[in-house]
């Protein structure tokens, strides 16, 4: 799995190569927009890490050129000019994600992971949160290693939450998932299934909890020690 780094700051490139190497990714580097487009035309990369402040052109022009020739390679835009307006234009130009300098290395790795997962380049065997694991392929749930059977709707809610563990899933999103299964649900359907799911998790001695963010949605996170 190769990653292309398009960045003109030599030291940052060295650091990025080292970081990606440690994480198990091979990487190539170019320092100009022109080189990047040439390299991209004959090599397929899993992800492109693209600095927006290149010496010869605006990094966004690279993204545009890629999209124009139907190159769908995921792009993470790196920028030092993290003005609020830039983020919007970056995403509009076709970048898949956007990271402002400076960034935490683990954040970059997480974004790469997410993009790879989204583009189908890697398929997780299971998604874990605490001692709860969910296998997206088989849709099996195990709590503390013990397979647990959930109803279709409970499973749908848990899957949505665990895919975004430690982040908020909006109530509207969960509602949509449930309505996809049946449309004879009451107005408090989400609360009902969250309640059931909580009871299941407690009974199975899961070390995670579903937190209510009132007015917004729910979030599954590991219970504090």
């Amino acid at each position: 799995m190769r990653i292309l780094i398009v960045e003109d700051h030599a030291e940052l490139v060295t650091m990025l190569v080292r970081l990606l190497d440690t994480a198990g990714y091979a990487s190539d580097c170019t320092t100009t927009a022109e080189d990047a487009l040439i390299v991209l035309s004959y090599t397929r990369y899993a992800v492109v890490i693209l600095d927006l402040g290149l010496p010869d052109a605006d990094g966004l022009s690279v993204v545009r050129a890629m999209r124009e020739r139907d190159d769908r390679t995921p792009v993470i835009a790196l920028t030092a000019r993290a003005s609020v307006a830039h983020r919007v234009t970056g995403l509009e130009a076709g970048a898949d994600d956007y990271l402002a300098k400076p960034f935490a290395p683990e954040e970059l790795l997480a974004r790469i992971q997410a993009l790879l997962r989204r583009s189908g380049t890697i398929v997780d065997r299971t998604i874990d949160c605490g001692n709860v694991s969910f296998d997206p392929a088989t849709r099996e749930v195990a709590i503390g290693g013990v397979p647990t059977v959930l109803s279709a709707r409970e499973l749908e809610v848990l899957a949505a939450l665990i895919r975004r563990s430690s982040r908020v899933v909006t109530k509207a999103h969960i509602e949509q998932l449930l309505f996809g299964l049946a449309d004879d649900l009451g107005s408090n359907a989400v609360e009902v299934y969250i309640h059931r799911l909580r009871r299941r998790l407690t009974l199975a001695e899961a070390d995670v909890e579903i937190v209510t963010v009132r007015g917004v949605g729910y979030m599954i996170m590991e219970r504090a020690a």
Partner: protein, 451 residues
């Protein structure tokens, strides 16, 4: 004098009115004077002619006595209705002859001089103009005095004069007012391009860098001012551009080295040191980010005209801070007043301001606190917490940049300054109410009705 701006119109009108009034008085005065002298001359002539007629009618009879022969030519003088009366006196002031209409003037009042003299007298309510001229009849010296009753209905000169003044004023006054009205129109017309130019500056929104005053119809007197304003705008524009470029460059030059350092830290073996360095660099990165955001807010005019959904912004804001809040053992909730509340604003910056308020609430509200975000249907976005509160004396200072209650706290002290700036860019402000157990930051945005 006063600091109140003086209106050009008022000044011109005032001075013009004064000038017109002085001219009117001067013209009326001199015309009156001219008419008055003319009238006096005519009067003297009339009296003189009458006196001459009387002199012609005087003659000696054979006995050495004086005789007055009345003929047709001097009939007017002797008709009692004409308002004339006469008296012929000798040297001692004895009345030799007098008119049928009795002269009211006492004889002593008639001057007996060597030359013909004219006089005016008043007796009771009657005004008289008179002449007294010496005449030699034979070897006898007599004085012929003719008196005209000026209040007599047949005398019209004085009436004419009075009428002239009255009607003259009646004609001049409306003309004067008309002149002033025309003044107003002229000034209005002349000032119109200036008003238009002012309006073009006033209605310009945000920081329009290409705005210049260029109304070709600006009066020549005002054009130097317009040129000076344009030159100033030019200088401001270039300094604005320089500052904006500087911020962009500074952002780049500061962020990249921190990014390098942040990656380099990963190679540090000592885990504790690595963690410390990471947190230091993260704090540094955060300060740089907020300093640049603040600089951007202060130099780049925000376009706050878009329709944005406060509920959507609040939902995203609460969702993104929720993990941190719950990890810090706090709870957070959103109370939207409606499914959506549309306001006029800049979505990304409102989100940034809300983020700063939420971060502030999470950091300073104490453990196990509750944070509540509300969106009112009136366009108010508020963040409340039940923490220890903010001391009254800090309420103003808290929005100053780099202000911190606790110097060692891991915050940049810029978050609330950013919130205040975002509010200001939206032509509103942050309202802070706080007492122990309840702190509320609120920003009232302008509602944007859905069309």
């Amino acid at each position: 004098m006063t600091s109140q701006p003086r209106s050009l119109m008022a000044q011109i009108l005032r001075w013009h009115a004064i000038a017109v009034l002085i001219t009117a008085i001067a013209v009326a005065g001199s015309v009156y004077l001219f008419l008055d002298t003319t009238a006096a001359r005519i009067q003297h002539q009339t009296l003189h002619v009458h006196a001459q007629a009387l002199r012609q009618a005087l003659s000696h009879d054979g006995t050495g006595r004086l005789r007055l022969t009345q003929d047709n030519t001097s009939a007017a003088v002797f008709a009692p209705s004409a308002g004339f009366s006469f008296r012929i006196l000798d040297q001692r002031g004895t009345v030799l002859f007098q008119s049928a209409s009795k002269m009211v003037l006492p004889t002593a009042d008639i001057p007996l001089e060597d030359e013909e003299s004219f006089f005016r007298r008043q007796s009771r309510r009657t005004f008289y103009a008179g002449t007294s001229s010496p005449a030699q009849v034979g070897n006898e010296r007599v004085w012929i005095a003719v008196l005209q009753n000026l209040t007599h209905p047949d005398y019209i000169l004085d009436d004419l004069l009075a009428q002239f003044l009255l009607y003259g004023m009646a004609i001049v006054a409306p003309l004067l007012l008309l002149l002033l009205a025309i003044d107003v129109l002229i000034i209005r017309r002349a000032v119109l391009p200036v008003r238009r130019a002012s309006a073009s500056l006033e209605t310009a929104e945000g920081v329009p860098l290409d705005l210049r005053l260029h109304d070709e119809r600006l009066p020549a007197e005002v054009r130097p001012l317009a040129l000076a304003v344009n030159a100033l705008l030019e200088r401001l524009t270039s300094s604005y551009r320089m500052q904006r470029d500087f911020i962009a460059d500074a952002a780049h030059e500061l962020r990249t080295p921190i990014a390098v350092a942040r990656l380099r830290v990963e190679a540090v073996d000592d885990a504790a040191l690595r963690a410390r360095l990471c947190s230091d660099l993260d704090a540094l990165g955060r300060i740089v980010e907020q300093v640049l955001e603040l600089a951007e807010l202060e130099t780049v005019a925000l376009d706050t005209a878009a329709s944005v959904d406060l509920v959507q912004i609040a939902t995203d804001g609460v969702a993104s801070i929720a993990p941190l809040a719950f990890r810090s053992d706090k709870s957070i909730a959103l109370s939207p007043g409606a499914d959506s509340v549309m306001v006029a604003g800049h979505a990304a910056w409102i989100a940034k301001a809300l983020g700063c308020l939420l971060e502030n609430a999470v950091k300073h509200s104490g453990t196990s606190s509750r944070i509540d975000v509300s969106v009112g249907t009136d366009g108010t976005l508020a963040v409340c917490d039940d923490g220890p509160g903010i001391r009254e004396q800090d309420h103003a200072a808290i929005f100053h940049r780099f202000w911190k209650r606790d110097r060692s706290a891991g915050s940049s002290g810029l978050g609330l300054a950013i919130v205040a700036q975002v509010a200001e860019a939206h032509a509103t402000q942050v309202t802070l109410t706080s007492h122990p157990g309840h702190t509320r930051f609120a920003i009232a945005f302008r509602l944007r009705p859905v069309s």
